[in-house]
């Protein structure tokens, strides 16, 4: 009996620990981080890091002493990075990583995914406010402020395809969007989604929460070894998931894995170009940008879509 349950569960275990979630996903995250840095370097007329750079960073961080500063709650200090990474990994289970169908699916898992993604940011904020360091505090405040500013537009932008697909289940949406390039019918939604993804990952120009020239390293100022490594991995995973979601929703679904890979890379190139082009926004400017433009844009997109469907049916 026990053996049979184990036998039945082996696929699940594999899906959880090795492929498509777990190890494979971490490696994906590292790869995309490397691609990000390499492309950025190319745009800045540099050579850029070697292919194993993110891996070396992670190993080095894992082998490094972890300093737990005074006045923090050790449980939180150690636990938060783990929770952040776990959230990301769990979210990956519902997402068609590298163009494969998601390992799990249930009605409304789109919402779950989005909130598991924002778990990372929440953990960042908590980690910052957990320490006594002034820079961490300011960084945490900025992180949370930014979270509240881009979350709604990101959500709405991802719900656009869900609306036309008449479902909140990712697998259904992706099958619906196969060879339907929603970027053509919902360009504004696509734009907002991409920029919101940059805000979510705190990439320039939305890196005010970790602006090194103002607040040393933001919420992570006090994190040295393992914690930092886990947070970096978490960000890598979030990058993969975000790219996958947007590509599968707006860029014609997940017809074949290789094509999908190319799509995500193209999307990454766009993100990198924006990073290289734009100056860092002050936190108030970020908030203003999101509430004054982002939300309005995506709402306008919604209006158009609704009216269009009303006309069509």
């Amino acid at each position: 009996m026990g053996s049979t349950t184990i036998m039945n569960n082996i696929p699940n275990l594999v899906a959880l620990l090795i492929f498509p979630a777990g190890l494979f996903l971490l490696l994906c995250g590292l790869f995309y981080e490397w691609a990000d840095r390499k492309l950025l370097a190319q745009l800045q007329n540099r050579i850029g890091p070697r292919w194993f750079q993110p891996l070396a960073d992670i190993i080095k961080l894992l082998a490094k002493e972890e300093v737990i500063p005074d006045g923090v709650n050790p449980t939180l200090f150690i636990g938060l990075p783990i929770i952040a990474l776990a959230g990301g990994l769990t979210a990956a289970l519902y997402v068609p990583i590298v163009g494969l169908l998601p390992s799990y699916g249930l009605p409304g898992d789109l919402i779950i995914t989005i909130y598991l993604l924002s778990l990372l940011t929440l953990c960042l904020g908590l980690a910052g406010s957990n320490t006594l360091d002034r820079f961490s505090l300011v960084g945490a405040t900025r992180t949370l402020t930014q979270l509240f500013s881009y979350e709604a537009p990101f959500m709405l932008a991802l719900l656009g395809p869900a609306f036309v697909a008449r479902s909140w289940q990712i697998s259904v949406i992706t099958t619906f969007t196969n060879n339907r390039w929603l970027i053509l019918s919902q360009p504004l939604g696509f734009l907002v989604a991409v920029i919101a993804l940059m805000g979510k990952l705190e990439l320039p120009p939305f890196d005010a929460p970790e602006a090194e020239t103002e607040i040393v390293a933001g919420a992570l100022t006090e994190y040295s070894g393992r914690g930092l490594a886990l947070f970096r991995l978490g960000k890598g995973v979030a990058l993969v998931i975000g790219l996958t979601l947007i590509a599968s929703f707006y860029l014609g679904g997940v017809t074949n894995p290789f094509l999908f890979f190319v799509k995500t890379l193209t999307l990454l190139l766009v993100v990198v170009a924006l990073q290289a082009l734009l100056t860092r926004l002050r936190i108030d400017q970020t908030v203003g940008l999101w509430w004054r433009y982002g939300t309005l844009l995506v709402l306008a997109q919604w209006l158009v879509t609704i009216v269009w469907h009303g006309v069509a049916t």
């Binding site: 370097a41 190993i59 080095k60 992570l220 006090e222």
Partner: protein, 160 residues
């Protein structure tokens, strides 16, 4: 200490782990963003496109000492700065290395008077000295490679 304190000696396991860890440390040694004087200018030049230090995994100058492995002391250390420098060194987690860039911080250089610490190795243990006033960016990179050679030879039981 880092991983080393948690390790006993497991023979071959230790050696391979040692190689992996040293490999990662020499490929991803993050310097601390810490300039003191003229040499800081050349250090930034080494960061910029022409002598791109990200080729050696130094893309991110870490602003926070908690996240940096290598302290490049670029410029002379004044008496007033010395306690601050030592405190920064203490804030860095093990394992950590110090590179004294230029004459002034290596041995006081041209300044031998009441205000200057005659060599930063009077304050913190220094691993590599780079001569020059200031060294060219290539000189700095050569110093870093010298440090890498040193780190590659390190053994786990020497670490802790």
């Amino acid at each position: 200490m880092g991983v080393e304190s948690k390790l006993g000696n497991f023979g071959v396991v230790t050696t391979t782990l040692e190689q992996v860890v040293n490999w990662s440390r020499t490929r991803a040694m993050w310097p601390m963003l810490f300039g003191l004087a003229c040499c800081a200018i050349e250090m930034m030049a080494a960061q910029a496109s022409d002598y791109d230090m990200s080729r050696f995994g130094m893309e991110l100058m870490r602003a926070s000492p908690r996240q940096s492995d290598l302290m490049i002391v670029a410029g002379r250390v004044s008496r007033k700065m010395a306690p601050v420098l030592r405190r920064l060194y203490d804030q860095m987690p093990d394992p950590k290395w110090v590179l004294a860039m230029g004459d002034c911080c290596s041995c006081g250089g041209i300044f031998n008077n009441y205000a200057i610490v005659p060599g930063v190795d009077e304050i913190v243990p220094v691993d590599v000295y780079v001569a020059g006033c200031p060294p060219r960016p290539e000189g700095l990179i050569h110093g870093i490679l010298t440090l890498y050679e040193k780190v590659t030879g390190e053994k786990i039981d020497h670490w802790s």
